[in-house]
Symmetry: C2
Subunit: 234 residues, 2 copies
DNA sequence: GTCTATAAGGAGATAGAC
DNA sequence: GTCTATCTCCTTATAGAC
């Protein structure tokens, strides 16, 4: 829902388009340019905010990262705060899409594994978004209090309830499901948020697909076994 | 920290004490003042840097948090960069003191449990230091490259070697010991670094000692079992 | 639609009064 | 030793030329 919601806002500035001839061609070109510029700015801002936090990030740095003049950033995004909030919302949307439909009747092993895997995938496909989010939480989550105490709490509670029923049915150990969710979150996000540490210690330039696959298997194995969940085929 | 830090700022107006009699007393008093001011500044800076990152933190904000004029911060600490580095070093020293003396002949369960517990203790006793460190890594660890690729890598390698031998002796599953160390780091630091998220989701004002004890037990149980390490008394 | 110029305030750091 | 005043640069944001 966030990929291309930019087009609608001010597509046609009625004044400009009043000349008849170039109208369609120009309109298209502008639409495309706008879309691309917005995408570039959002991507650049995600990197800069992730690296320096909200206050530490400057619009100048974002503009340079995006290869545009600074005032273009403000023209497209209004102001710094709005840009930041938009990025947070984009990341929350990606996040909310995860593990959206589990039920008590699902297989615990399958669900936990899918949970771990999808979190790893998200960390890998959007590391800057993950770090942006992390920086926001690290700073006390000034923009996200409502989200944490509302939507996200509900998300956790719903899944925790299912884990609890699995434990009652003897499908897993009676561990506190909320701590378990935090364990999975922290273990998976670590590879995005602390990437610099991971790469430095393991002497890598980057994590390969094979590395990520190994880590995912390691985490699944340890966490499932640690919770007394029997893997699928067993 | 902020309750009563206003009193000390102007205790001795040097004019008053310039008489010879009070000289020694002044010297002592200043020594004490200096020590206390430095401590206050370091504590305040740790909080502000943790919250806003290196760039986002302002000396003004640090000075206010410490209850001192801004130029006092510069007088004591030289410059922003030096202050920041000093804080990082202080945190690395705390960190290096952990789990400093393990050997192949130790009991894996005991060591892993002590590891988890001491990391939780550190996160709890120095949450701002932990978040400061996290913010530095999140931003690509510009000040810590050397440390990560040197000291810390050695620290990890030494412990990984021991874990590997335990696995060979059948004392634990043959999991990759480096991923295991990252798992323990991430799971424990989460409660300091993502405190805002944890508190928001669990609807708490703060984590009590009992909460921390429960979390520590949960993590020990899941991780030890997950690695095939038999708890001590078994 | 896009960019230059600039306003208004905050940053880190220093000089020098006290 | 401590703090006020200030320098210079950089910040967000806007006004208005093109």
């Amino acid at each position: 829902m966030t990929q291309r919601n930019s087009v609608q806002t001010k597509v046609v500035s009625s004044k400009v388009v009043s000349s008849k001839v170039a109208t369609r061609e120009r309109g298209e070109a502008n639409g495309v340019t706008r879309e691309r510029n917005e995408r570039e700015i959002l991507a650049a801002a995600e990197r800069i905010f992730a690296r320096h936090g909200y206050r530490g990030a400057s619009l100048q740095a974002i503009a340079e990262e995006a290869g545009l003049p600074k005032s273009n950033v403000l023209y497209y995004m209004g102001n710094k705060r709005g840009l930041y909030v938009r990025l947070l919302e984009r990341m929350m949307a990606r996040w909310n899409a995860l593990l959206d439909d589990i039920s008590v009747d699902d297989d615990p092993a399958e669900v936990l594994e899918a949970f771990i895997r999808s979190k790893m995938d998200l960390s890998r496909s959007h590391p800057e978004g993950s770090r942006l989010f992390a920086a926001e939480i690290l700073g006390g989550a000034p923009f996200l209090q409502e989200y944490l105490r509302g939507e996200l709490r509900d998300w956790v509670e719903a899944r925790a309830a299912i884990f609890r029923q699995w434990a009652e049915r003897g499908l897993m150990d009676p561990v506190d499901p909320v701590w378990l969710i935090f364990l999975i979150w922290s273990a998976t996000q670590h590879y995005a948020d602390f990437e610099a540490q991971v790469l430095g210690i393991t002497d890598r330039e980057e994590l390969s697909d094979a590395d990520v696959e190994n880590i995912t298997r390691f985490l699944s194995q340890v966490i499932l076994k640690g919770c007394g969940v029997t893997p699928r085929q067993a």
